[in-house]
C-alpha cells in the first residue's frame, strides 16, 4: 500500500509536469487574450508530429527534429493569434472559445488525414532506458528529462517576467490602454504571448510523446490527454498565477494517479471520476483558485 501510494506520487508528479507546461500556456494566453485556449494541447500534438516527421521520415538529427517541432508549434500559435484571435477580439467569449476549438479540430483533422497510412506512431526517446525504480515503478529517462525541462522553463519564465520585455508583457496584460500610452505595443505583446504559449505547448508535445505511442489528437483526447488536466491546473492557479500553474499541474497529476490505486479497481474510469470530482470540489469551494494570492477577477 505504501509502495503503491509512493508510486502514485512519483508517476503523478512526472505526468503532472506535462500538465504544468500545458497549464502555463493556458494561463499566459488567458492573461493576454481572456480566452480559454482549447488549441493549447494541439500546438503540442502538431509539434510532436512535426518532430516525428523530421526525425523518422526525413532522418534529421534528433535535436534538429525537436527544434523543428517546436518551430512548427510556434508558427501554429502565431497563425492562430493573427488569423483567429485578432479578428475576433471584440466578439463574445464563447465565439473566441469556439474559434480556438476550431483551430484544434482543424489540426486534428489534418493529422488524421496525413497520418492515415499508419495511424499509430512511435517517436523514439531522447535517451532510451529506465533511470530508476522508486517504489517499484520504472521511471524512464524521458520522464526525468520532462520534469527537469519543466523546472528550467519555470525558472526561465520567472526571469523573463522580470526583464524589461517581460514587465512590458505584464503591463499590457493588466492594463492595455495605459500601456499603449506609455509606448508598449499591445499587438506585439499579444503575438509574443501566444508564441511563448505555443512554445510551451510544443515542449509538452515533444517531451511527452515518446513515452507512449501517439495518434492524431494525442494531447487533446488521445493516450496522452492533457487538455482537461491543464485547464484544471490553470483553475487551481486562479487562471493567472504562473507558479500556481506549475504547482497545480503537479497536484492534478497526483490526484489523477490516485484514481489508479488498486483500491479503486472496481470503479470504471476512476481517474476521470477523480478529476471530475476534484474540479467540482475546487470550483465549488474555492473558485478563485488555490495556489494564488489575491482574489482573481475572471
Amino acid at each position: 500500500m505504501i509502495d503503491e501510494i509512493g508510486a502514485a506520487l512519483v508517476i503523478g508528479v512526472l505526468t503532472g509536469s506535462v500538465y504544468s507546461m500545458v497549464a502555463l500556456g493556458i494561463v499566459l494566453v488567458y492573461r493576454a487574450s481572456r480566452v480559454f485556449n482549447f488549441a493549447q494541447t494541439e500546438f503540442g500534438t502538431t509539434g510532436l508530429f512535426a518532430a516525428f516527421v523530421a526525425v523518422e521520415l526525413w532522418g534529421w538529427h534528433y535535436a534538429f527534429g525537436v527544434l523543428f517541432g517546436l518551430a512548427a508549434a510556434v508558427a501554429m500559435g502565431l497563425a492562430t493569434e493573427r488569423l483567429i484571435i485578432r479578428p475576433l477580439r471584440d466578439s463574445s467569449r464563447v465565439t473566441l472559445l469556439v474559434g480556438t476549438a476550431g483551430v484544434a479540430l482543424a489540426a486534428i483533422g489534418i493529422q488524421f488525414w496525413q497520418n492515415n497510412a499508419q495511424p499509430i506512431r512511435q517517436m523514439p526517446r531522447m535517451i532510451e532506458g529506465v533511470a530508476g525504480e522508486p517504489f517499484g515503478t520504472p521511471v524512464t529517462h524521458q520522464q526525468v528529462i520532462t520534469l527537469l525541462v519543466l523546472l528550467a522553463v519555470a525558472v526561465g519564465l520567472a526571469l523573463f517576467f522580470r526583464s524589461p520585455t517581460g514587465l512590458a508583457v505584464q503591463a499590457a496584460q493588466q492594463e492595455a490602454t495605459a500601456s499603449e500610452l506609455v509606448g508598449i505595443s499591445v499587438r506585439r505583446v499579444s503575438m509574443l504571448t501566444w508564441g511563448i504559449a505555443a512554445f510551451l505547448g510544443g515542449l509538452a508535445g515533444v517531451l511527452s510523446g515518446p513515452n507512449l505511442t501517439f495518434t492524431a489528437g494525442f494531447l487533446t483526447f488521445g493516450a496522452g490527454a492533457a487538455l482537461l488536466q491543464g485547464f484544471m491546473a490553470a483553475v487551481l492557479a486562479g487562471m493567472r498565477s504562473m507558479p500556481g500553474a506549475v504547482l497545480g499541474g503537479l497536484v492534478v497529476g497526483v490526484v489523477e494517479q490516485l484514481g489508479s490505486l488498486t483500491l479503486f479497481d472496481g470503479v470504471d474510469g476512476s481517474r476521470a471520476l477523480f478529476l471530475f470530482l476534484f474540479l467540482l470540489g475546487v470550483l465549488l469551494l474555492r473558485p478563485q483558485g488555490v495556489f494564488v494570492r489575491e482574489k482573481a477577477t475572471v
Binding site: L88, V94, V98, G102, V103, G109, F112, L279, L283
Partner: protein
C-alpha cells in the same frame, strides 16, 4: 396571433422596443428595428406581395417540402436516393435535434456545454437498455431517454448555479470525460466495446420510414423550442442571459429558469440520443468522445445561436460532413490536393467554421435570414437576419 397582440402597444414606443428586445429573432424579425418600431411594424403590415410574388413564394415552399419529404422517399423525384443517402439524411435530422438542444443551453441560457456527448450518450444507452434488456417498446424507450437526459442535465444545471461562465464550460468538459470513461464503461448498460443492440420500432424498421419518424421528432422539438421562446420562461431566459442580477431585480427566478433551460436541453438531447441509438441499431460507447462534443458546439455556433432554422441547417451540414457526405465534392479535392473523401469532413469542416465565425457572426442563420423572411411573405431585405447589436454577453462570465 401573438404578433398582433404585440403590435398593439406600438403607440407607446417604450413598450414596443421592450417587446422587441425580448424576441429579436422570431418570425417578424424585421419589425424590431430599434429606433422606429411602430413605423417598421406598420410598413410590414402593409406590404403584400403581388400575385407573381405569391406564386414565387409558393413555388419555393413546394420545392422545400419536395426536397425534405419526397426526395428521400424516392417519390416524384428523378434522383436515386440510395441507402447511404438516406442514412445521411437521418443523421442530419438527429444532429439537428442535438443542435437545437445545445442551442437552448448556449443560446438561451448562456451556458456553454462541452460535455454534450454525455447528454446524448445517456439518452442513447437508456433507450437501448429499455428496448433490449427490459424488452419494452421503442416509444417507452424514447420517453425514458428523455427523462434520463433531463435528470442528468438538472444535476449539472444545479452545478451551473454556483460555477458560471467559462468555468462551467470546464465542469461540463470534465463531466463529459467522466461519462465517457466511467458511465459508458459499465458494460451491463452499454454492452462494452461491442456495443448494445437497439432495434427500431415495428413499422419503422425501414430506413425511409425511420427517416420520417426522426423528422416527426424534429418537428416536435422545433415546436417545443418555438413555444419555449414565446413563453414567459423564454423571455425570462433572455433577460437573465443578458444580466442575471438585473433579471433577478425584476422578479425573475434565476435559479428556476436556468434549471428549466437545462431540463429542456437534456430532454432534447435524450430524444436525439435515443434516435441515434435506434438509427445505428448497434450503439457503441466509443463514438461519444470529446471530438463529438466539440463538433456539437461547432455546428450550433456555425448555424447561428438563437436561430432555429440556422441551427438545423448547420447541424445537418456537419452531420453530412461527418458521415462522409462530402464525397461528391471530394473527388475534386482528391485530385487537386490529394484529400481523400472520407477526410473531407474533419479537414474542411473546421476551416469552414473558422471562416464563418470570423466573417459572419450570425452564422448560417444570418446568411439565410433574407430568404427566410421572403418566404414568410415579407419584402426581400438583404439585411434581414443580421445581428442588431454587438452581443457581449453570450456566456455569463
Amino acid at each position: 396571433m401573438s404578433t398582433t397582440l404585440r403590435r398593439k402597444p406600438g403607440k407607446r414606443g417604450h413598450a414596443a422596443s421592450e417587446a422587441s428586445t425580448v424576441e429579436p429573432r422570431d418570425a417578424d424579425g424585421a419589425d424590431d428595428t430599434k429606433a422606429l418600431p411602430a413605423v417598421a411594424a406598420a410598413e410590414n403590415g402593409w406590404f403584400r406581395p403581388s400575385a407573381g410574388g405569391w406564386f414565387a413564394r409558393a413555388a419555393a415552399w413546394v420545392l422545400l417540402l419536395w426536397l425534405i419529404l419526397a426526395v428521400p422517399a424516392n417519390v416524384l423525384s428523378p434522383f436515386d436516393f440510395g441507402v447511404s443517402d438516406i442514412n445521411l439524411a437521418i443523421a442530419a435530422v438527429i444532429f439537428a435535434i442535438i443542435g437545437l438542444s445545445l442551442n437552448v443551453l448556449i443560446g438561451y441560457a448562456g451556458q456553454l456545454s462541452l460535455g454534450h456527448q454525455a447528454f446524448v450518450g445517456i439518452g442513447a444507452f437508456a433507450s437501448a437498455y429499455v428496448v433490449t434488456n427490459l424488452g419494452l417498446g421503442f416509444w417507452f424507450g424514447v420517453v425514458v431517454a428523455a427523462g434520463f437526459g433531463a435528470v442528468q442535465a438538472l444535476a449539472l444545471g444545479a452545478v451551473s448555479l454556483r460555477v458560471t461562465g467559462l468555468y462551467f464550460a470546464l465542469v461540463s468538459l470534465a463531466y463529459g470525460t467522466f461519462a465517457e470513461n466511467s458511465l459508458f464503461a459499465v458494460s451491463e448498460i452499454t454492452g462494452g466495446e461491442g456495443g448494445k443492440p437497439a432495434d427500431r420500432p415495428a413499422g419503422f424498421a425501414e430506413d425511409q420510414m425511420y427517416y420520417f419518424l426522426c423528422l416527426a421528432f424534429l418537428v416536435l422539438v422545433l415546436w417545443l423550442d418555438w413555444r419555449l421562446t414565446r413563453s414567459k420562461g423564454g423571455r425570462a431566459l433572455q433577460a437573465l442571459r443578458e444580466n442575471p442580477r438585473v433579471a433577478a431585480s425584476y422578479g425573475i427566478d434565476v435559479r428556476r429558469y436556468t434549471l428549466l433551460a437545462f431540463v429542456v436541453s437534456g430532454t432534447f438531447a435524450g430524444i436525439g440520443g435515443a434516435l441515434m441509438a435506434h438509427h445505428q441499431q448497434i450503439i457503441v460507447p466509443g463514438i461519444f468522445d470529446f471530438q463529438l462534443a466539440l463538433i456539437f458546439v461547432v455546428m450550433t455556433v456555425v448555424g447561428g445561436l438563437r436561430n432555429r432554422i440556422g441551427v438545423v441547417i448547420g447541424s445537418a451540414f456537419f452531420a453530412g460532413l461527418g458521415e462522409g457526405g462530402g464525397s461528391e465534392g471530394g473527388g475534386f479535392l482528391e485530385r487537386t490536393i490529394g484529400l481523400p473523401a472520407e477526410f473531407t469532413g474533419i479537414v474542411i469542416g473546421p476551416f469552414l467554421l473558422l471562416i464563418v465565425i470570423t466573417l459572419l457572426p450570425g452564422g448560417i442563420g444570418q446568411l439565410i435570414g433574407p430568404v427566410k423572411d421572403w418566404m414568410l411573405g415579407k419584402r426581400f431585405d438583404r439585411n434581414a437576419g443580421k445581428l442588431k447589436e454587438v452581443e457581449v454577453s453570450d456566456v455569463r462570465a
